[in-house]
Amino acid sequence: MSGFDVRLPELLVRGVIAGRRHDQVRAYEVLAPAIMTLATRILQDRHQAEEVVQDTFVDVVEKARGVRTPGAFVGWVKRVAVNHCLMRLRSPWHARREALDEPDAETAPVSAGGYGLDPQSDSHAQRTLEAALGQLPDDARAVLWLHDVEGYTHKEIGQLMGHTTSYSKSQLARAYQKLLAWRLAGERAASGATPSRQGTQSEPQQRSIAGRTSTPTPA
């Protein structure tokens, strides 16, 4: 669930808009973890995520007076945070760092059983999913998070990213393709098969997932 699914008291929002320090602190306490979560998932970097939280709240302090309706405040904060995340994804610094951090085949996390945890536990599943998220291409991961968790439509995501609606749809499908492959690999590893490295599914794994699919009819 998105951490932004909160309803701030109108009085509090009006206080933030009016620039009252006490209300700004309270809004920070409620919204900062949501921004941090959003930014960490999209950027996969805690340090950059903290910067996003800071930058977002600098904007809140400086520009909140531009918010006309208190009911739109949380949505506005979310949008500001998303924009800060996307700006960082687009920055040449990020691209350069990503190239340096590219996991090689030997060190890439395995899909399951690689964390020394019980493969059946929730914690293990979550860490596996987080690891899978980290392996997704930037845009696919951002679209996946914005669409499936933050509830943005493909049209809105297209606008936010400066692309088309179909670009957003295609990135989401690409992200799920990889996640499904990961999941299958995880299931196979949990059932005792040799864990395979992410993104390199063996033939039996591919059959396993394909067995659940139908032949789609043309749209």
Partner: protein, 229 residues
């Protein structure tokens, strides 16, 4: 869009399945159901991921950029020094004004440029604008000197609105608005001379545009008359 059974669904197939999941679940077929269930399950897992924690000290850092400049300006100069600076500036200003006032009148005075960004109020400029304004009004109304007392007061333009076209009418409304603003200036306890100058400049500009519009329409009328003759 077919995909064979020995590979993962391709991107297009997944797009269709995601549409079924998100937009049109009613169109879900039993064949698609298992994979769509997988997609739903993954979405739920994404939503169940734990929320990140944040260091509360970040708030201080977040607000530092906005708070710092104000604090640094005040903390950089001790209060006793600030008062001395202010007193020195006041003494300098008073002596400058005194020197200017003592200069013999009638001769041109080379006043030093104090600030380029804030032009000083100039009574001569205002008088010139009023003169221009009066002349232009005379031109428009066709009346002689003395008919319009365009002294230092707001004037409702005594112009005939009946024969005006759209451009002219909009210019006249602007003129009325400017006149109203000038009138309001006189009601304020301390008149903003700079604003007064600006408004009179606007008034002259609008009147000039009116004259141009009138000349243009006169030309058109003349050419129509000559054609019909």
């Amino acid at each position: 869009m077919n995909h064979s059974n020995d590979q993962l669904p391709d991107e297009q197939a997944l797009q269709r399945l995601l549409e079924l999941r998100d937009v049109d679940p009613a169109a879900l077929t039993p064949q698609d159901a298992p994979l769509v269930a997988h997609l739903r399950d993954l979405r739920e897992q994404l939503n169940d991921l734990p929320q990140e924690t944040i260091d509360p000290a970040l708030w201080r850092d977040a607000t530092a950029p906005t708070a710092a400049p104000v604090e640094s300006v005040h903390s950089a100069t001790p209060p006793w020094l600030r008062y001395r600076f202010a007193a020195a500036a006041a003494v300098f200003l008073v002596s400058l004004v005194g020197m200017l006032a003592l200069l013999p009148s009638g001769e041109p005075v080379n006043t030093p440029q104090i600030s380029a960004s804030a032009p000083l109020y100039d009574g001569t400029a205002l008088a010139s604008l009023m003169r221009q304004s009066r002349d232009l009004e005379r031109l428009l109304t066709g009346q002689g000197a003395g008919a319009m007392q365009a002294a230092d007061r707001a004037l409702a333009p005594a112009l005939d609105l009946r024969q005006s076209d759209a451009t002219e009418r909009s210019l006249r409304y602007r003129l009325v608005d400017i006149d109203a603003q000038i009138a309001r200036l006189y009601d304020t306890p301390k008149m903003d001379e700079q604003r007064r100058l600006v408004l009179w400049q606007h008034r002259v500009d609008v009147l000039r545009s009116l004259v141009m519009a009138r000349v243009g329409s006169g030309d058109r009328l003349q050419s129509l008359n000559s054609r019909s003759m």
